[in-house]
Amino acid sequence: MMGKNNRVSCTSGVSESIGFLLIFTIVIAGIGLVTLYGYPMLLKQQTSADEQIMEKNMIVLQNDVKSLAYKTIPYKETSLRIGGGVLTVYNSTYTPASSSIKIYDQNNIIYENSFQSGELRYSSDSAGTDISLQNGAVVMRRHVEPGSVMLAEPRWFYDSQTNTMVINLVNITSTGMMAKMGVGTVQMELGETQFLKTDTPPLTAEVYLEYTPDPVQDYSIAWNNYFQKTLGMTLISGTPGNGAMLKYQLPPTNTLVIKQYEVNIRSL
């Protein structure tokens, strides 16, 4: 005969305190995991979101410059949030220059002598990157690595049907050094415009372009890719990425057009 005491209940052997301990351990482990892995991951997400937003903002600013230069709109204003870093204007008289461009032909006729573009540079301290709007292009580089990449190209072009090379140089000026963090408004206006067109009876001479980067803020790899891949220039001397001068030969050019736009940053 089975007694009352011998009956095996479905809850016998279950201790409430052990169960509590188990659940408690799981909760503590969960919290621990979140603080250990989740929080740094969230911070990293925030940094990369800041960086991506700034990439986009710089392209918006580049569009403003495009509107000023190519659509002859006199004034543009953009509000943006600068997170995780600083946006600074380095005008074209600032030394060391972000880059210097010289254009001449084989008869040593100089069309443009050491043009310095100036730049709008976002320097991210958390992500360790620099994004720069220079000469109508948006370029990006990491602080510790030598490479650089072009996020948005400038509006230079080569028309192969008429062998015309159109070079648009954008000169960023300001009354002084300006920098901004947080929410700000970038006001820019169009300054002087210069226009040079050379088609003195078919210009059969070879045309050269010399690009000298800032040895520290070196975006020459990005520009080199643009010059060679997009515009079809050929690199004659120099190695991109080591901060030294690069010399290119333009594709066969009958008409050379060099335009210079002055974009004045009124405030940040």
Partner: protein, 128 residues
């Protein structure tokens, strides 16, 4: 565990549902920062009015006349001005070439080439 009620299991379930949906919303938001720029830009960049204007002036310039005779000098001057103006004002390379009517082909044909670095427009216009 006697007397333990498990009617409130749905709270735990809701917790899961909410946290997973937050996770997916975070992914979607993360993706949306970059999208939306290029499409708007592409629409703005299309130089419809520039092309129309240049095309009109080029075709008109082909029919400049002095005493009912085709004014070749003026035509080439005007067309050179069109080339220079479109380069300096609209940042575009314009090329014009035309053929005059002959007995076998009684039409004026104008080849128009327009390139502003973003888009290229070619047209062979023929008088009817």
């Amino acid at each position: 565990m006697a007397g333990l009620k498990d009617d409130a299991q749905w709270i735990v379930l809701m917790g899961f549902v909410v946290s997973f949906s937050l996770f997916f919303i975070a992914i979607v938001l993360n993706q949306s920062t970059v999208i939306g720029q290029t499409t708007a830009e592409a629409v703005l960049e299309f130089p419809k009015n520039d092309i129309r204007g240049v095309r009109d002036v080029i075709i008109q310039s082909e029919f400049l006349k002095v005493n009912n005779i085709r004014d070749v000098n003026n035509i080439s001057n005007v067309q050179n001005d069109i080339r220079t103006l479109s380069l300096s004002r609209q940042n575009s390379v314009v090329n014009i070439s035309s053929t005059q009517p002959t007995i076998s082909n009684p039409y004026t044909t104008v080849d128009i080439h327009y390139n502003n670095g973003v888009m290229i427009y070619n047209e062979i216009w023929r008088s009817k």
